[in-house]
Subunit: 262 residues, 2 copies
């Protein structure tokens, strides 16, 4: 399980001549194992997107003690990337095909002036927007459930199956006692390209009155199109909070021995 | 009222050949007024310390409309410094001598690995510390009130009057629903050099069992010395949250017309 500040990464996935999460992890893992390694992640995150609980797996014939691996790799990683927990997994284990659910958090900063302390973590909203959080919560309830979410994917995405289940969408305060930073937390089975950012943009468009609450139901279903939903909120407001594993009927690798212990 | 991310500033106060909050503000104010200006702040903050509601004042013969000044100056400031609210004040007004109370927040990050997302905002605690938040809260109650706080100032500070009043010290969660980042919020009449950082270090030393709760009362009073209290927590965990004005019996400049309106 790894956490990263996405600000200075060109995304999570390996790209030639770019600084990526995968590149930094593979470099540090190779120091620990003594051999080149490819990692498999639960999914990719775009440039600027952060993570608290991204899951990655790799294979090695070496059996390195969990604690030693955890302490050693965190000494080899840059400040903006840290392994949070380690566990053994079966050879070939791919967290992408074992994810039961994922939770993302989107932060939006209200106010007439930008907040320097959240500028890399939260979408700094237009100073003229005044948000109706009650309307956002009502829209969030309508967008929860099992639906065809084809209106909530990047326009050039052509996958066939666009049905997904969103277990919950919660709109609240990001920081205890401070209503100026709004948190939109989404938990669901799986997500399409830009889905959370379009969900966040849609809720913010409802909150500022640009989209009517009555228009939300038509955003779901096979007839819906991308132009019915709201704008795509920028990447730097998004954080992958956690990934729940165990889809294959096998228990999650993290349900056994881990370092640190749970 | 200004907010800043202290990470890339050599403190708030002007220093030759260093990037400071005062230097950046005076440069931007001069663009708005057309003449060189000196600002007066409610107090200084050290390198790395952040602010959400620092108060600064300056004099100008020009009467610039509040909204125009607010929008214009924020266009001239760097990303890590933003004016949050503006108001007119009497010529020569000095917020330092008009502060009734200040509120500071100190953030401490627990966990076996560092959290890349809080690395510039929170003190990343030693991974082996396990904190007793109940003991920290009990110590916070003991340290509240009107006392001689001479044990809570930098050792080379020689001022005579070391009596201060701390209205409240609250220990809680910084981020809603996430117990891993601890917030210590202190509200008091006035603070000595490093006082909040020593208060935070002391509470953390009590929390991890290095200092006994029973040793806290002896940290207060004229007999107490710096070596009785805890360590000085690092600067980057500290944020000046707000300054309450109006000590001179006159209402705060922000109680009249402001932009944005309150």
């Amino acid at each position: 399980m790894v956490a990263y500040d996405g600000t200075d990464f060109a995304g999570s996935q390996l790209q030639p001549r770019q600084r990526t999460v995968q590149g930094e992890l593979e470099r540090a893992i190779a120091i620990m194992t003594g051999h080149p390694t490819r990692i498999r992640a639960s999914g990719r995150t775009d440039a600027g997107v952060h993570a608290l609980g991204q899951v990655v797996a790799f294979d090695s014939a070496r059996e390195i003690p969990l604690k030693g691996f955890f302490l050693g790799i965190n000494r080899s990683l840059p400040d903006d990337l840290r392994v949070q927990r380690v566990a053994y997994c079966p050879l070939g284990y791919d967290p992408r095909f074992d994810a039961l659910a994922k939770t993302y958090r989107y932060l939006a900063q209200t106010g007439e002036a930008q907040n320097p302390l959240t500028r890399f973590r939260a979408y700094q909203l237009n100073r003229l927007w005044s948000l109706d959080v009650g309307a956002m919560r009502a829209a969030a309830r309508l967008l929860t459930g099992t639906h065809d979410y084809r209106a909530f994917r990047q326009a050039d995405d052509i996958r066939e199956n666009t049905q997904r289940t969103l277990h919950s969408i919660e709109v609240g305060e990001a920081f205890a006692g401070d209503p100026s930073t709004i948190s939109i937390e989404v938990r669901g089975t799986a997500f399409m390209k830009n889905m959370v950012r379009i969900l966040a943009g849609t809720l913010l468009d409802v909150g500022r009155g640009k989209l009517a609450l009555a228009s939300v139901p038509a955003m779901l279903g096979q007839q819906a199109e991308r132009l019915h939903s709201g704008h795509t909120a920028p990447a730097h407001g998004l954080t992958l909070v956690s990934v729940e594993l165990g889809r294959k009927g096998q228990p999650s690798p993290f349900s056994g021995a881990t370092y640190p212990a749970r």
